[in-house]
């Protein structure tokens, strides 16, 4: 019987029930979805790293390593596996794409998995195992011939298999390119035998190591074993690892702030709705008590409401959460163009379910406590209908201006204070919606602003020309002059144990610009070096300090003075050529940035042998667009959910407020107020709360974005930028949602049954 009553009560309050279920669904869904996104990246990439033996440490030297060196490393304590490794960029003959040729002498270290075709055969010659993504983008099939050019060498063979390698999990040719473009860049693996046959000898520039030892301890042991200082990179310094894990960390940071705000709003609104619903049921609760039902039975019955809503919302929410996670993290979406992963399973941290279970339990508890409160007294008291608190004089009523206020203003003001909880929750709903929207748009504006400034301002060139390793000083300058280009001499140094790029720029044509902390373009002076914000932070430096960097493979160290702080994409030490000369830094130019078009440079025969590759800025920007798509997707989802949550919350509270004031509204109608006039009253109150919620929500949204930006500081050296979209769109959305909901509720005025108003309350 009680179950029948439960079902009928649900039917009676179906609008509230549905809105509460939607709130739990959205709150739980967004929370679960965002947790699932970062956790799946973490788990699926880990699986791939393990499967293909992603190296924990890499010892790098341009002079190369021998089998003997490898033996020394393998003998070190804690080294599980090690392999000689080389990867060089070659030019593919058909499309003139850049294809990395990779060789490992142990396929279990920095190897690959075959997705189609023949398994790896270490004895095979004239055989390629090609990236399946590159093959698909360029219509290569198993059995096709492939010819690659590397300086004077030509590497030829047949494609034996299509593969994926975690070394190329994020398959980009350089640090300036954020997203892979499989049409123009890919990789192949060949066997050591084939390498030997091509070069006439085996030559490896790296030793890749799988070990549990931390990088510092390993570096010390490796340098000792090899009897020289080597450049040793931890996996955190490899983009295919650091960027993937960075994406997971970024997702985790986002997931720990915005969806939690989301869930918090849903729970708080739920609590209010649940309490109000119980109050509406007061006389029924009293009747059950008067009939002789025990308190425990009644509380159990009403706790079932909360439990039922909680369980239904949570189950649907978990399902929705999996969909959200999949929507962001799936091979067909933008994430699929970023990561080349073999497995796209959605994983969920176990504690997510624990939190969802706690939310459900909390909701049941709220129902329980609400009923318990009503049942406190005797049956007669419980039977009395609920009466809101008697109106008390407000302090502002003593002010001079009060008497001048119109009736509607007074009425609404007093109503707000009379129903404080409901008013607060409406305010909180608008506040939460504003916070989420402001934070979402501000994040988007900041990222777009930063990346735009970087790609369209800092990269003030048309074409990037990468020079062959063999090109020396004079020749490099000749090429730079020929194309009116600015030069970059890049090498790797160790700063505080971390391998970072040492970039010497000679900027004479304004083709390269630098962003200072205030996002203005800075000119490199010749009084010191410039560091990215992350390096300044991690090394505890400030402008004017001096610090040392060590050159890998030598005993050379340089002492630099920090002249300024920059916002950069990659971590590095930046200086002008003039300062480099002053500080005695020896450099070799390896890139030229010019306004000459890609086609012009490509068709120019003069420096054909000196230029290893040419990159069009447009292609780099294309990859930036793909990167932005991933972000738009996440932020777009958050914006959509915020709007839905806003509508549900405001509608739910609006309906609640409407029914609580039903008698008053009916009276106004009976007295002779027109529907539109009464509607205006309701809309006005909602608008006030919207204005207040918005005013409070804007700074809170900015604070949250700042917290988020700081939390993401290890990923981006971004500055919070207030763009037009943040100023214009959230205000339109918040007020639009509020007005829409107010109009929907005001429309109910037409259905007010005035005859009811004449009746004495039961």
């Amino acid at each position: 019987m009680m179950f029948k009553k439960l079902l009928r009560t649900i039917r009676r309050y179906k609008a509230q029930f549905i809105s509460m279920i939607i709130m739990v669904l959205l709150g739980v869904g967004v929370f679960v979805g965002f947790q699932g996104e970062w956790y799946s990246i973490d788990k699926d990439t880990d699986y791939f790293y393990d499967l293909t033996g992603f190296a924990d440490c890499r010892i790098v030297s341009e002079t190369g390593y021998s089998e003997e060196d490898l033996g020394k490393i393998k003998a070190l304590y804690g080294v599980e596996k090690a392999a000689l490794y080389i990867s060089v960029n070659t030019n593919e003959s058909r499309e003139n794409d850049v294809v990395s040729v990779t060789v490992t002498n142990d396929p279990e270290v920095s190897g690959f998995m075959v997705t189609e075709g023949a398994e790896y055969d270490p004895e095979a010659k004239e055989s390629f195992w090609m990236s399946d993504m590159y093959a698909a983008a360029n219509e290569y099939k198993i059995g096709d011939k492939l010819s690659l050019k590397y300086g004077a060498y030509t590497i030829e063979g047949t494609i034996k298999g299509l593969i994926k390698s975690s070394e190329y999990l994020i398959c980009t040719p350089g640090e300036n390119q954020m997203m892979p473009d499989y049409k123009t860049y890919g990789y192949v693996y060949i066997t050591p035998e084939m390498l030997k046959e091509t070069l006439g000898d085996e030559f490896y520039t790296e030793i890749h190591v799988i070990t549990d030892i931390d990088k510092e301890t390993f570096s010390e042991a490796a340098n000792k074993a090899l009897e020289k200082t080597n450049m040793i990179l931890g996996k955190d310094e490899i983009p295919s690892y650091s960027e993937a894990k960075g994406e997971a960390t970024e997702g985790k940071t986002m997931a720990s702030i915005l969806p939690v705000v989301f869930l918090g709003i849903a729970i708080l609104i739920m609590v209010t709705t649940m309490q109000r619903l119980t109050i509406n049921e007061k006389t029924q609760i009293g009747t059950l008590k008067a009939l002789g039902f025990r308190d425990s039975r009644i509380t159990r019955h009403y706790a079932m409401f909360g439990l039922l809503i909680g369980v239904t919302g949570a189950v649907l929410g978990i399902g929705f959460g999996y969909f959200v996670a999949w929507f962001i993290f799936n091979p067909g979406g933008s994430m699929g163009t970023y990561f080349d992963l073999p497995s796209w399973k959605i994983h969920m941290p176990w504690w997510t379910f624990l939190i969802v279970a706690a939310v459900v339990a909390f909701m049941a508890l709220i129902s329980y406590l609400s009923v318990k409160k009503i049942l406190k007294g005797n049956a007669a008291e419980a039977l009395k209908p609920y009466t809101p608190k008697a109106m008390k004089r407000l302090k502002i009523e003593d002010t001079k201006g009060w008497r001048k206020l119109r009736f509607a203003t007074k009425w609404n003001l007093r109503d707000l204070f009379r129903h404080k909880a409901r008013s607060f929750m409406t305010l909180f709903g608008v506040f939460g919606c504003t916070v989420l929207l402001i934070a979402s748009f501000l994040m988007m504006d900041s990222m777009v602003g930063f990346v735009n400034k970087f790609y369209y301002g800092s990269m003030n060139y048309e074409t990037e020309i990468l020079l062959d390793d063999s090109v020396k000083g004079e020749k490099a300058l000749e090429i730079a002059n020929a194309y009116s280009g600015d030069t970059l001499a890049n090498s790797m140094v160790s700063l505080g144990g971390e391998a970072v790029a040492l970039s010497v720029y000679d900027v004479t044509h304004d083709n390269i610009r630098f962003l200072d902390e205030d996002m203005n373009y800075a000119v490199l002076g010749d009084e010191g070096v410039y560091l990215g914000m992350r390096l300044v932070e991690s090394n505890g430096l400030k402008v004017g300090d001096t610090f040392k960097v060590a050159v890998f493979g030598t005993d050379t160290t340089y002492e630099f003075k920090l002249a300024g702080v920059l916002r950069t994409l990659s971590k590095g030490v930046v200086m002008s050529a003039a300062y480099a000369e002053k500080a005695g830094v020896s450099t070799r130019v390896n890139a030229i940035y010019t306004d000459t078009s890609y086609d012009e440079v490509k068709s120019d025969e003069r420096f054909k042998n000196e230029i290893s590759s040419i990159k069009n800025r447009g292609d780099i920007i294309k990859s930036f667009d793909s990167f932005m798509e991933v972000m738009y997707l996440m932020i777009g989802a958050l914006i959509a959910f915020s709007i839905i949550l806003g509508i549900v919350v405001l509608y739910n509270l609006g309906v609640m407020s409407y029914f609580e004031r039903y008698r008053e509204l009916s009276t106004l109608k009976v007295v002779g107020f027109r529907d539109r006039r009464i509607g205006k009253l309701l809309i006005a109150q909602n608008m006030w709360l919207t204005v207040a919620g918005y005013i409070l929500g804007v700074p809170a949204g900015i604070v949250i974005t700042n917290v988020l930006t700081k939390a993401l500081a290890s990923e981006y050296e971004m500055k919070v930028i207030l763009g037009w979209s943040t100023i214009v769109v959230p205000v339109i959305l918040v007020f639009g949602v509020s007005l829409l909901v107010s109009l929907l509720i005001a429309k109910k005025n037409k259905k007010i049954n005035m005859v009811e108003a004449l009746k004495v309350p039961e």
């Binding site: 008697a390 007093r414 009976v670 002779g672 107020f673 005035m754 005859v755 004495v760």
Partner: protein, 233 residues
């Protein structure tokens, strides 16, 4: 001239699967300036009669005219204007706005009428000038009903409709409220129609209309109605 005229007025409510006839072909004429009491048992249709007259509800069939104007054909907004300007209501449960003070509850009508009576005069007439800034919850039942009367009359309506105006009050307070109501109505020359179970109130009326099962059973015109003091409460 008849102020109020009902011609073959019926009102049918749909209750679940069956129809319930609240009024069944009522013909009625009430002269302006009179004090009319509608008597009848519960469910007789007297409140429906009042609701239709007050423009709170529309008849299923028939015609209701007030000073020649057919109100059964009015639009929603026209009905609202009719309620604002032509009729004043006094409810059994007072129906004051809890968030407005006594003064504000009465002056509220200025928002909707063109020719309201002064709020303070109304409150003086009902003896509540000392309670202007009090909220309804700070008043007794009788005081609340007097505010309700002041509000109804402040609109300066032609007709005052009262649904069990003393139903929630003890007899002494009820008598006092009635005295106020009648004194004010006569003072301002209003037609008063009271719906009640209370036979005593009927003794004071110019006209008594007895309703039963949705029909007018009897109309009694009293030549010498009693005053409030003459009625044995």
């Amino acid at each position: 001239m008849d102020t109020i005229r009902f011609e073959k007025v019926s009102k049918v409510y749909q209750v679940g699967d069956h129809e319930q006839k609240a009024l069944d072909g009522v013909d009625l004429a009430i002269e302006g300036g009179k004090f009319v009491v509608i008597l009848g048992p519960s469910g007789a249709g007297k409140s429906t009669l009042l609701n239709l007259l007050g423009g709170l509800d529309s008849p299923t069939s028939g015609k209701i005219s007030i000073e020649g104007q057919d109100i059964s054909k009015l639009s929603n907004d026209e009905l609202a204007d009719y309620r604002a300007k032509t009729v004043g209501f006094v409810f059994q449960s007072y129906n004051l706005i809890p968030t407005l003070t006594v003064f504000e509850n009465v002056s509220l009508v200025k928002e909707i009428t063109d020719n309201p009576l002064p709020t303070k005069d109304m409150l003086k007439d009902v003896g509540l000038l000392d309670h202007l800034d009090k909220f309804p919850s700070e008043l007794s039942g009788g005081e609340q009903q007097r505010v309700s009367i002041a509000r109804a009359l402040a609109k300066n309506p032609k007709i005052l409709l009262c649904d069990e105006p003393t139903g929630a009050l003890d007899s002494e307070t009820g008598a006092m409220v009635l005295k106020t109501l009648l004194a004010m109505a006569r003072n301002y020359n209003k037609t008063i129609i009271i719906v009640t179970h209370n036979q005593n109130i009927a003794k004071m009326a110019d006209e008594i209309i007895r309703v039963k099962s949705g029909r007018i059973r009897e109309i009694i015109r009293q030549e010498k109605p009693l005053s409030v003091e003459e009625v044995d409460w």
